[in-house]
Amino acid sequence: MRGQLHPLALRIWHWVNAAMIIVLMITGASLRISEPKILFGYSSAVLIHKYAGYAVAASFLFWLVYCGVTGSLSRYYVIRSEDLKGMPKQAKFYLFGIFKGSENPFHPTLQEKFNPLQKVAYVFTMCVFTPAVIISGILFSNILFFRSVIDLMGGLRVLDAVHVIAAYAVAVYLVVHLYTSTLGKTPLTHIKEMFTGDEDHVESVGSSSTTRTAG
């Protein structure tokens, strides 16, 4: 079975999404740090944040539809009992094995793309934090229009809290994701794969020698 671990559509989505999230992180920080002009002018930060937010919302929708239609959502984004069992083993590898030169206990296949830790992180990020940050962001985009919904949630401060907590979670994920992407054979292996699609390495179940660790 020959297939791409990262189909072209997902690769494009990944990098567009990444760029937008970086923009959101920077503008979000300059909004949060309420003295303007530190990173951005306040007004321009608001504007950029707003439209980058819309872009991420659209890209998330694309991802959801794409993964739903291709079945990768049910294939890769459901935490099973084996995953929970595999978590300590994977954590042990990252904390100790990786320094000793041990082999990664997980090998990505078209059937199982993410290692257990990676899967948990992805599921929370893509199914909890990202939707939370997007929905709260959409509510923020027109406070007066969504007023009744915001009131129902408990007010603006609560909405603000949801958005910011979710944003911090995504930020934490981003740091980990960026670092673990360097844990391949060479530091740039996974990053290259994300451009090329990993064609050469995954051909069939169990035939790959690549260690897949990008979290």
Binding site: R32, I33, S34, E35, P36, K37, G41, Y42, S43, V46, I98, F99, K100, G101, I143, L144, R147, I150, D151, G154, G155, L156, R157, V158, D160, A161, V164, I165, Y168, A171, V172, V175, V176, Y179
Partner: protein
């Protein structure tokens, strides 16, 4: 000897009595004619009162006025003759005059015995009247009779004599171009501008102002400027006597010659008018004051010295960019409180037209300008208050509610003051918010609006805040206006200002104050954390609670920092292990 002497004495006594009797009889005979005719001839009076020879008071005789003299000799003391017996109307008017009020008698102006002698005019007593407060006093004094201003003119007429000179005198139609038998301003202007050839030489214009009235009625106060300088002034029906080819007389627009004060009607309503400022308090001359602006500032400073001092030391003053009248029209002046924030902003925007683009750095620029005025930020020394009021959205506009509109919502006759509950301490966070929710159930269009208003302005707007741009000046619990907050409650008798306390910083859990909500909250600071660490027991818990949403940033940043440290350690260990493996 004895007998002879006795006889002589008796005879002498008899003789004396006889002489006395004769004299008495003579006296009686002399007096008889007077008594019989009740008339003392003027000539008889003048026999004694030689000084009055040649007196003149019409055809009157002495006793016409000195009517108590019926015979001669008359008593030394005579009652004062009454002028009113003949001059009833004049005396009636005089009684109302300022001269009468000052106790002046007729004879002080009129030499009653020699009417043509010592004729008194106004100037005889008021010789050196400077009329310092009268604008263009020389012009006014030269052209107008005293009674025009100091009396009650019964008839006034302005006549403009235009005499054309030269060989061929001008046709009247040259001036009344549209033939409507009235000379309006345009016609007059074009007539004046006629080229020499057309007007066929020079023409002279003479203006005369005829005032008829009774000199006896000199009023206590002079008339106001508007008596002449208005559309219905004394000389508003002016006539033009045109000496051209023929002599023509036409009505002419008087305002061409007598400038009408455009503000005379409004001025009384202005804060200046209400506080008794008179035209001449500022206009000491007819020369337009505004022509020299530093001069106009000096006029304002006559009363507003304190403001001038502040203003002159401000950026506006030192750079000389704007003067009092650039912002304030003294004829239409309204007090600061009479202007709403939008109108006040419009004053600044006359020059600072680009105020919106200059404030583009300000998040929600237009929203800020809905609730603030320029002086809120640019005049830190101005006194400010945050005011709340009931408003209703009508056709997209927020309109403050009146008493009658609000009482419909809360029930007629209800004491609006009770809406806030019994407590004296009214808080934004609880009472106002709760009230808002209650009322909103009854009327969805109802809202509580707020504004930050300047209650006492300080004329120094030098602070540009270009460097600051700090949201926390207002968006923090320490914002200056929180010290002065009022709820304006419309009452039957007028608005009641109820003092309230609290802050608006998303204090209310429901975002009911969404329109006026101040989203920003001060960031967590080292001070907050130090305080938290220092405190113990319940105080620590209280501090933790007080920090509220600030913990999000604390934990978020801390978590990211820990992970970054972890990553660094991981990298170092990877490098070390790789080196170790190679060896």
């Amino acid at each position: 000897m004895g007998y002879r002497s006795r006889k002589n004495a008796v005879e002498r006594s008899m003789e004396k009595k006889t002489v006395a009797m004769i004299l008495l009889a003579l006296g009686l005979v002399l007096l008889l004619p007077l008594r019989a005719g009740s008339q003392v001839k003027t000539s008889e009076c003048l026999d004694c009162h030689e000084g009055y020879k040649g007196y003149s008071h019409g055809s009157k005789s002495c006793t016409d006025c000195h009517s108590t003299i019926t015979s001669l000799p008359h008593p030394n003391s005579l009652p004062r003759p009454s002028c009113a017996e003949c001059h009833q109307q004049v005396v009636y008017l005089y009684d109302q005059s300022v001269h009468n009020e000052k106790g002046m008698a007729c004879k002080e102006c009129h030499n009653v015995h020699f009417l043509q002698k010592d004729k008194k005019r106004c100037g005889s007593c008021h010789g050196n009247v400077s009329h310092r407060t009268l604008p263009s006093s020389a012009k006014h004094l030269d052209r107008l009779a005293c009674i025009a201003c100091h009396g009650k003119p019964v008839s006034t007429q302005m006549t403009v004599r235009v005499v054309t000179k030269g060989k061929g005198a001008v046709d009247p139609r040259t001036i009344d171009r549209n033939g409507d038998q009235f000379i309006d301003r345009d016609e007059w202007t074009s007539f004046q501008g006629l080229p020499r050839s057309e007007s066929q030489g020079k023409f002279s214009v003479e203006k005369s102002y005829r005032v008829e009235g009774d000199m006896h009625l000199i009023t206590v106060k002079p008339v106001k400027c508007e008596a002449c300088h208005s559309a219905k002034g004394f000389f508003s029906h002016a006539r033009l006597r045109f000496f051209g080819k023929t002599v023509t007389e036409l009505p002419i627009d008087a305002s061409i010659f007598i400038p009408q004060l455009p503000v005379s009607a409004i001025f009384a309503q202005t804060v200046h008018g209400r506080s008794g400022v008179k035209c001449a308090d500022c206009h000491t001359s007819q020369k337009e004051i505004a022509q020299d602006r530093s001069e106009s500032d000096a006029v304002c400073a006559k009363c507003h010295k304190e403001v001038e001092d502040v203003y002159n030391n401000s950026a506006h003053g030192t750079q000389g960019v704007a003067h009092c009248v650039d912002c304030h029209n003294p004829h239409r002046i309204r007090s600061y409180r009479e202007l709403d924030a939008e109108e006040r902003l419009a004053v600044c925007a006359r020059c600072h037209k680009d105020y919106l683009s200059r404030h583009s750095w300000l998040p929600n620029t237009s929203l800020h300008f809905e609730y603030l005025e320029c002086a809120t930020c640019h005049s830190p020394s101005s006194r400010k208050s945050m005011v709340f009021y009931f408003a209703q959205r009508k056709q997209g506009q927020k309109v403050p509610l009146r008493y009658d509109e609000l009482s419909v919502l809360v029930g007629p006759g209800a004491d609006l003051r009770n809406m806030f509950g019994s407590g004296r301490d009214i808080s934004v966070d609880t009472q106002i918010g709760q009230l808002f929710i209650n009322l909103k159930k009854q009327e969805p269009s109802l809202l509580i609006d707020a504004a930050i208003l300047v209650t006492k302005v300080y004329h120094d707007y030098s602070i540009t805040r270009l460097e600051e741009k700090k949201c926390v000046i207002c968006h923090s619990r320490d914002a200056h206006f929180y010290e002065s907050m009022y709820f304006i409650l419309p009452q039957k008798e007028g608005p009641e200002y109820i003092r309230i306390r609290g802050t608006l910083l998303s204090a209310y859990p429901l975002s009911t104050f969404i329109n006026i909500s101040l989203l920003g909250e001060d960031k967590i600071s080292k001070r907050d954390i130090d305080a938290f660490l220092r405190l113990k027991g319940t105080a620590k818990i209280d501090q933790a609670r007080a920090l509220g949403f600030k913990w999000i940033d604390f934990f978020g940043i801390t978590l990211i920092a820990i992970i970054l440290i972890g990553v660094c350690i991981h990298i170092i260990l990877r490098i070390i292990s790789r080196i170790a493996v190679r060896r």
